[in-house]
């Protein structure tokens, strides 16, 4: 397990970087946080007042120490719009966002990996062309636009999807008892099938519109890596040893594909966490992204910065998870340390 510790230690510089940059953005850039915190109705005196209470009139190093101290206590400031501590707000909404992103990622992986494998075993076949078309299309479409297109097609034209008004039609259903905060999982735990169905119905469109964009890069890299693996010497050896096709494809080729795939996951996560904001906005999904957007509109400064910090930390942790996964798959990485 030594390598896990090594990876953990390796994230420390990233975390420090994240904290420093977040501090820099919120304290050292030319914008005036005091004016933001004071809100639109403030006058010069009240702004000065707030500047002093926030310590924004002190030298930057002093402010930094104070910032770190606040962070250590989980104090991200108070939201102007909700009046609650930002951390409380964020934690309350995080499960909804994680639920959406996880389903999107799950959808992407479940489709993309078989698709890439299939495309690689039948070059220039139908799936291969579909794979390439998807890559081109997903590079050109804005996520929010695809989300809206889906709403138009699947809600308005076809009537297959429910109205895109958030996580659950709360007029018809009441949310399941709180375990994880993800409605689908909570409904499953509670055994509340109607609510499970209803929340899944709400989830499908946003998850697919988000997942489509994660799908393309994963499928592309799977295809390329699978092609490389299939042409490699060790697959030739496996065939010369008379191993069954299934074993050659799954145990020999596919495991070697997982490593390149995990190396694009970082990019995919960056994309998912960013696009989450846009998709939540489109579908009225009450997660941290939608919270950040309303904070942006209300110039709710602390809320936005808290959101940025939380996403960055989440991203660092996700990358850590990917790293550890890669290490488990590939002994060479483990030995390189």
């Amino acid at each position: 397990m030594a390598f896990v510790w090594k990876r953990l230690l390796g994230t420390i510089p990233s975390l420090i970087g994240v904290v420093v940059l977040t501090f820099f953005i919120s304290h050292a850039l030319p914008g005036d946080p005091a004016a933001y915190f004071a809100g639109p109705a403030a006058n010069a005196a009240s702004i000065e007042n707030i500047r002093a209470t926030l310590g924004l009139d002190r030298p930057l190093p002093v402010q930094f120490v104070r910032y770190i101290g606040d962070l250590a206590q989980g104090n991200l400031g108070r939201s102007l719009t909700t009046g609650q501590p930002v951390l409380t707000d964020l934690l309350e909404r995080l499960p909804a966002s994680l639920e959406l992103s996880s389903f999107a990622l799950l959808f992407a992986i479940i489709i993309a990996i078989p698709m890439g494998v299939w495309a690689a075993t039948r070059i220039n076949g139908g799936v291969d062309h579909a794979c390439r078309a998807l890559v081109t299309v997903s590079a050109a479409f804005p996520t929010f636009f695809v989300g809206l297109l889906f709403v138009y097609i699947f809600y308005f034209l076809l009537g297959w999807a429910p109205q895109p008004l958030g996580r659950l039609n709360e007029i018809a259903y009441s949310p399941p008892p709180h375990f994880t905060g993800a409605y689908t999982i909570d409904a499953l735990i509670a055994g509340d099938w109607p609510v499970l169905r209803a929340s899944l119905a709400q989830l499908i469109l946003p998850a697919i519109s988000l997942g489509l964009f994660a799908l393309a890069p994963i499928a592309r890299i799977t295809r390329a890596a699978m092609l490389e693996a299939l042409g490699s010497d060790f697959i030739r050896t496996a065939r010369a040893s008379g191993l069954p096709v299934r074993k050659i494809l799954m145990t020999y080729a596919f495991r070697n594909v997982l490593l390149p795939v995990s190396s694009v996951l970082g990019m995919v996560f960056s994309f998912l966490l960013g696009s989450n904001v846009l998709i939540e906005q489109v579908f009225g999904w009450q997660g941290v992204g939608a919270y950040a957007v309303s904070a942006v509109i209300a110039s709710d400064y602390a809320a936005v910065q808290g959101f940025v910090l939380m996403m960055a930390v989440l991203y660092v942790l996700l990358n850590l998870a990917v790293d550890i996964f890669a290490t488990l798959v590939d002994p060479r990485v483990r030995f390189e340390g």
């Binding site: 010497d233 060790f234 050896t237 010369a240 040893s241 008379g242 069954p244 060479r332």
Partner: protein
């Protein structure tokens, strides 16, 4: 009947740039316990011969005529699934660059177990022990520990031993070694070759040794077949071919191999190039490079000459 019989085999590749006639009327046999060398320049068709025997040819390959039998089984008529079952059990192959020929992320013991599991019919609890025994048989020191290693932790020579252990795990009756020592240092080469020879003697395995290295073939083979541009041009017992080469090409090969260690591809002293295998080819594919060529060489069908029952040559005017 020989254990492995290749009879009048022709193979071509349909490519975007035309049909490559890679093998033409190739005949060769290997009896039990015998080591037959196949030598020739790069591109002469050595590997295609090997892959065709194993049933591992590229999809672009077409077998246009001929027969291959192994222990009486018609390999070209066998269904793919039957061929798969023969590979690894009855016939095995080892390759050059052993480090890339092993799965980089699977323990070598596991890789041998995979083969055993498929072909040896052992209960799964005995697999591990059998894999370790296979490693021990190729004289890998400390096989229990090595079984847990990944290929990148081993040297090239050690990886080639693992390859051999894997190939021989189910005691096949035919082994094809395609340049098994290319890229290894001279001492390791000798160790690997000694190992292959010992194995083939002790299990009476028929071995086809493909190599660039005539010196190496001379040292380890019972008989040698010389290939040129998809033709076998001469076959003879080793001593005889080294002392009395009959085909002009064989002589040039020998002349280009003054010391046992030197390899053909190091020496560009054979004049001319292999002919392009795509166009129309003369009956003797060597005629473009041959000093002894006469007009008739390009005209009539080329006969096989039998200099002695074991020494045949495909040349109209062989050296005596």
């Amino acid at each position: 009947m020989a254990q492995l019989e290749i009879d009048n085999l022709s193979v071509e590749f349909r490519t975007r740039h035309g049909v490559v006639r890679a093998l033409d009327s190739v005949s060769l046999s290997v009896t039990r316990g015998e080591i037959v060398g196949v030598v020739g320049e790069s591109g002469s068709g050595k590997s295609v011969t090997a892959y065709t025997v194993m049933g591992l040819n590229d999809e672009a390959a077409r077998i246009t005529q001929g027969n291959i039998t192994m222990g009486g089984i018609d390999l070209l008529a066998a269904r793919p699934e039957a061929m798969r079952e023969l590979r690894g059990r009855e016939m095995a192959m080892i390759f050059q660059s052993p480090r890339t020929a092993l799965n980089p992320i699977r323990k070598i013991g596991k890789q041998i177990e995979d083969v055993l599991q498929e072909h040896a019919g052992l209960p799964s609890r005995d697999l591990k022990k059998a894999a370790i025994a296979a490693l021990a048989r190729v004289r890998i020191p400390d096989p229990e520990r090595r079984a847990e290693a990944y290929p990148f932790e081993l040297s090239g020579g050690m990886c080639q031993r693992v390859m051999i252990a894997m190939a021989l795990a189910c005691t096949p009756s035919v082994l094809i070694a395609d340049e098994p020592t290319t890229g290894l240092d001279v001492t390791t080469q000798a160790v690997i070759m000694d190992l292959i020879r010992d194995m083939s003697r002790s299990t009476r395995m028929s071995t086809l040794l493909i190599t660039h290295d005539l010196g190496l073939a001379g040292e380890y083979c019972d008989r040698i077949a010389v290939m040129h541009a998809g033709h076998i041009v001469e076959v003879a017992p080793t001593e005889e071919i080294l002392d009395h080469p009959a085909h002009p090409y064989t002589r040039q090969l020998l002349a280009a191999t003054p010391v046992p260690e030197s390899r053909l591809d190091d020496l560009n002293s054979i004049p001319g190039h292999l002919p392009d295998l795509r166009g129309a080819l003369p009956p003797c594919r060597f005629s473009g490079r041959c000093e002894r060529r006469r007009p008739i060489c390009d005209e009539a069908e080329l006969p096989w000459r039998e200099l002695s029952p074991a020494h045949v040559v495909r040349c109209r005017f062989p050296l005596s």
